[in-house]
């Protein structure tokens, strides 16, 4: 047993939004660990995801702005059409370089970059999706000691993304969505 993570990244694509909303609804009121959400979205989708999330949680939801310092009590959302990276001083930077796995934001990019900084203090979660993004980044995070959680493909609306991750690594947890919130609330992992 060891102390819980200090940063959580949740990545998902097709079929993951409802899961994210459910997880956030189930978080304890005292939950303070900062969460970053990487969701593949349409570039022109003007849906205010921050607002959607803010109804589900007491945490403050905010789209990442470059140079934002990662702060307890916040849920950050990766902006569309940029990659989000984590800097050594625990701030975010944005990058509009090539798509990775046909995606920008790419979950691989965020998992890797967050793992470089948080290492064993990172917990990453990969949810439903129709794309292989996230698997390689999760493997990298695991190599650096991070805790890895994959949504049970049987529970995922689109099982392809979690299945790709399970092909590439043996994660610490394979969970149904309802159990993921319970794990985050427990604050003690592995």
């Amino acid at each position: 047993m060891r102390a819980g993570p200090t940063f959580i990244v949740i990545g998902g694509s097709a079929g993951s939004l409802q899961v994210i909303l459910r997880i956030l609804t189930l978080l304890d009121h005292e939950f303070k660990t900062p969460i970053l959400i990487v969701l593949h979205r349409h570039v022109n989708a003007d849906s205010p995801l921050e607002e959607l999330l803010s109804f589900r949680t007491t945490l403050i939801s905010r789209e990442v702005e470059e140079k934002d310092r990662i702060t307890d009590g916040y849920i950050y959302i990766c902006p569309a059409d940029y990659h989000t990276l984590v800097e050594k001083d625990f701030s975010f930077s944005l990058d509009d370089s090539e798509k990775i796995n046909f995606s920008r934001p790419s979950i691989d990019v965020v998992f890797r970059s967050a793992a470089d900084i948080y290492r064993e203090k990172l917990l990453c979660v990969l949810l439903s999706g129709a794309n292989a993004d996230g698997a390689a980044g999760m493997k990298y995070a695991q190599e650096l000691g991070g805790v890895t959680v994959v949504q049970d493909p049987a529970d995922a609306q689109v099982p392809y993304m979690p299945q790709q991750a399970l092909k590439m690594l043996n994660p610490d947890y394979v969970l149904e969505s309802s159990r993921i919130a319970a794990l985050l609330n427990s604050k003690v992992v592995v």
């Binding site: 140079k67 990276l85 990058d95 370089s97 970059s113 390689a136």
Partner: protein
Amino acid sequence: MENVIHIDDPEIEVLLDDFIEIYGYDFSGYSKASFKRRLQRLFIMDKMVNFAEFRYRLQNDRDYFNHAVSEISVNVTEMFRDPVFFKTIREKVVPVLATYPLVRIWHAGCSSGEEVYSLAIILKEAGILNKSILYGTDLNPNVLEKAARGIFPMTAMQQYSRNYLLAGGREDFSSYYSANYNFAKFDESLSQRMVYSTHNLVSDFSFNSFQLIFCRNVLIYFDKDLQSKVLSVFDKSLERFGFLALGSKESLRFSGIETMYEMLDGKEKIWRKFK
């Protein structure tokens, strides 16, 4: 998929020092996480075996270093990127520019020129291209050659045409280029008004005064200090009542010049200098 390659932080510091000492290029104000990704991408792309080999090539082969600079800088761009932004330029900025006898515009970090051609089309449609000069600058000479030629892949035209219409364009977009196999060559009436030259925002100064400066998705790669420094170069280069246009995720916050600028409308990242 990216492979896992570790270039660690001390190694990056070593390369940063080499780049300054050997070539005079200073990347130390770049955001570290992004710079590291670009180096790792280069390392993988060029099939480097280990850090020593990578460093040796960078130190001793000027052509390879130039190639590295091209690849480290992000050259992802498109015509009429963020169409609503260009619509605002067309509707709110261009009418003001039209009142000047000579219009000078600077596209800082213009990469292969897609943004410059986009603006030239808007100026042409407003009837003021002939009294305008568009200066395109970039750190990377390779992309500037492309920009000066005005030849872009045909495959991108469908999207550019869509962007153009969303940005308020009313002409037939294909009338601006001639298609030749897989390439679209843009009309010389557009490029005639353009001047391209290398300029390094890290080390070079203001070189003229302008009524409009574009610098979109360049500042995100810089740390706060370098951002402030570059914004003050823009401030020195911008006439009173001139416009500054940044990328959709960039702002003047922490810059020290924000008190002299006001945002044109709530949404697009366009500021007007009022002092």
